[in-house]
Symmetry: C2
Subunit: 479 residues, 2 copies
């Protein structure tokens, strides 16, 4: 007999079928006549109940059927008496293929804190919460590829190890093959990177954008989806040292087309998750409702998770320039009552509290802010005709803040070189990047989306460490 | 007017339509009355011919229409007089948005060597060959996700930075945030990794398998698709320091199910490429035919690229045990005539020449070799009942050699620990891996496929550096 997964049993199977179930025991309850065993196989948030009549099975077998044990069950699928489930299995045979000693198994029936589960990240996939989170993550990742594939984008694997710090975006991790205790030195005593594996100092990439631009100048539309790294010593619920980014880059696109694509993209992948993982998202939404019960009324969520996601999917994003956003903030009663911690004036980098005000209080939906002052943005962003702003865009989402950052790129060689000089980037380090402006360059644009931020948004998880399988953070690279 | 890509123009458009074309000039030829400009936009191997009557355009505009220039063209799509093309554009307007000075543009009309193009990897996407290669790579990557998605596998992003050398598979790259010129030391003079970013020595992953196994013990079926690294100083056409791997892992699978899945997977993604990128593959096949013309008759390919791929897709893979394979080699006239460089006996690691003999001479199709001697395989492979072989499998493909390596995993805690001891891996370093055997373990299996090897196989490219956008190899991390 072929194994059927629970997801398929619950949607496609018929009562009366003989089935083969394989999975892990979540709970066992019952009395001396009958045992009810909830089994999960990871294919869905739902367990399948196995009904085991005590007189059909040895005491020894049933003793080993404990939370966490791996079991193989055959039996008849029957309509369930219990509520909340259409089917259950009347067990004919139960084999425990992997025991889980109740004395030592770290995941018992009771609810565990997210902090505790982070310590046992190798087992947390077996909980309802993390099962749901990583199924949603999987669905979102597939939707990313599907979206770009349908639009003729070419997926590019840009390099992870690189000799250039693409954006000067922050501290990078060094990559070396040296014996650290015995590094070769040049005559004047400096570390001789010419003798390192790559013949020069290398680090982990902070972004695939610059390489992505090279490919866009041949394929028109490309995207990356790969790991990126920041050696920032930020021990917060929002930062990871290793995270996944999606970076599309489009030739012949201006800022408006860039914003249109980003909005369509975000809506597409959220809609895809709502359609394919509604059960998981409902479960995660219920989790938030439970969490809220411990909070004072005025701190509770105004919308359920599903409502929040549907709001995003069904409404146009608001679009304002940075200059308009500053005006809105300056005119707000919030500002006048001095409720912002950081001051507001044209030229500042918007703080989290400012972004949240715009999104959550003023517009009450996602906002695309464009045309930032050039001095607070990266060197490759296209200078606007006003000479003081660049064609940048950030997309701000409720509860998350910045979820997308992008821009039209500076395609004019002279202006780009000037900007590089101003920020201290050497032309010779980026000769290949400049070549795309020398030869067949064109107006182009792109953006980056931090994948974990998006998974947080869709799952409602408050800590970014809970949406990546094995988080890398300061002093932590376990598993 | 909306831009239409050439791929869509060639399949979906109708003569008489006004169209907007954006792309890069490949060639320009003509006379004083009319210019024929071949434009490519990366969406397909095919160019679209733009017909520009000399009297409609200024000399200055036409002068800038040179190989490599970015152009925006509007005009009427008309049935083409030329052969090999259904349509061409009768240009009404041509704008050169990015020039490419013919004196300095490194990619001229003439054919360039692959070696030369590797030096200008930032521009090689603009050639027919690399356009085709990276479109095929994109299609294969999408097919990977599609295959596993259809089967309910969960895509896992396993960590890139890790403190464990999963398989002892080879030299790893170190990752550090230290100031290399001033590393903190412990009292006894050793480097104090407790003060490094992660609080311990870390390196780049060589495989996501061990972490993948953890997730399979919750989701049943998972796969990884991410970058992996080897700091091997191998300057060959087969090795990269950074490459992408696909590693599925399935709970409740034995070796036979593992081999079945791997075979179905390989056929699926190749078939998908044949269906979606036939033009590109035909072009690449023609490239090989041209290449062969410079070779003596007996060194030429027996089959075209398409024929080779269809052979793989349409035939069952051969399955033999390692022991049977050794017998075949020992009984071969090749062996008896002492044509193998390396000797053959039970216990040896099969050399490339042995694998090629089995695949290309003996079976003439892909071969799955199973049940290797335990001493030449990794510690986590399941010991067979004979006590001397393990439930391993390698899939060997014509012209490439090993394309998949996999095994059923040792799920029995005592045997696994014994094996780890034998090869010198400390239990405490892999406590989390052993936990999956302590708690709800089950028979499970998985395999790894080197993505670049697969891209080589489907594109026929001989050097692995030509199938990844920006190859990382000894002394080379350019771009």
């Amino acid at each position: 007999m072929q194994r059927t997964k629970i997801k398929d049993l619950l949607t496609g199977a018929e009562a009366g079928n003989q089935v083969l179930l394989k999975g892990w025991v979540r709970t066992k309850r019952g009395n001396k006549f009958v045992n009810f065993i909830a089994v999960n196989d990871g294919s869905t948030i739902h367990n399948l109940q196995v009904v085991a009549e005590a007189d059909k099975f040895s005491e020894e077998t049933l003793k080993d059927v404990t939370t966490g044990a791996a079991v193989v069950v055959t039996g008849e699928l029957v309509a369930s008496q219990g509520k909340g489930q259409a089917f259950e299995i009347q067990a004919a045979n139960i084999e425990v293929v992997g025991k889980a000693d109740p004395e030592t198994y770290p995941l018992q029936k009771k609810a565990h804190s997210l902090e505790y589960l982070r310590e046992i990240a190798h087992l947390r996939f077996r909980t309802n919460t993390f099962g749901a989170v990583f199924r949603v993550r999987n669905t979102l990742a597939f939707a990313v590829h599907k979206f770009f594939n349908e639009r003729g984008f070419v997926y590019m694997h840009t390099p992870i190890i690189t000799a250039s710090d693409a954006e000067g975006a922050g501290e990078t991790f060094q990559v070396t093959n040296f014996d650290l205790d015995n590094m070769p030195r040049t005559e004047d005593g400096k570390i001789n990177f010419a003798e390192d594996f790559f013949g020069k100092a290398t680090n982990l990439t902070v972004s695939g954008q610059l390489e992505g631009e090279l490919a866009a100048m041949a394929f028109s539309d490309i995207y990356t989806f790969g790991p990126t790294f920041r050696a920032e010593n930020s021990n917060t619920a929002r930062h990871l040292a290793e995270f996944w980014m999606i970076e599309p880059e489009m030739a012949f696109h201006d800022l408006k087309m860039n914003a249109d694509l980003a909005e369509a993209f975000i809506k597409y992948i959220i809609r895809y998750a709502l359609e394919n993982n509604r059960d998981d998202i409902e479960f995660l939404g219920q989790r938030l409702v439970e969490e809220d019960k411990a909070k004072p009324q005025n701190e509770r969520q105004e919308m359920t998770l599903i409502e929040k996601l549907e709001l995003v999917v069904n409404n146009d994003f608001e679009r304002v320039t940075y200059t308009e956003a500053i005006e809105i903030l300056l005119n707000s009663s919030h500002y006048k009552k001095k409720k912002f911690q950081y001051d507001v004036s044209w030229g500042i980098d918007l703080q989290s509290e400012h972004e949240r005000y715009l999104v959550e209080k003023h517009f009450k939906k996602p906002v695309i802010v464009t045309d930032y002052p050039k001095d607070i943005k990266a060197f490759y962003m296209r200078l606007n005709d006003d000479g003081k702003t660049v064609a940048a865009m950030d997309i701000l989402a409720p509860g998350i803040g910045e979820i997308v950052g992008g821009s039209q790129r500076e395609e004019r060689l002279d202006l780009l070189v000037e900007r590089m000089k101003a920020v201290g980037i050497h032309e010779e380090d980026l000769w290949w990047y400049l070549d795309t402006r020398r030869f067949g360059g064109c107006p182009h644009a792109g953006f980056g989306l931090g994948f974990e931020r998006m998974v947080q948004f869709v799952t409602g998880m408050g800590n970014i460490r809970d949406v990546i399988p094995f988080p890398r953070t300061p002093k932590n690279a376990e598993f």
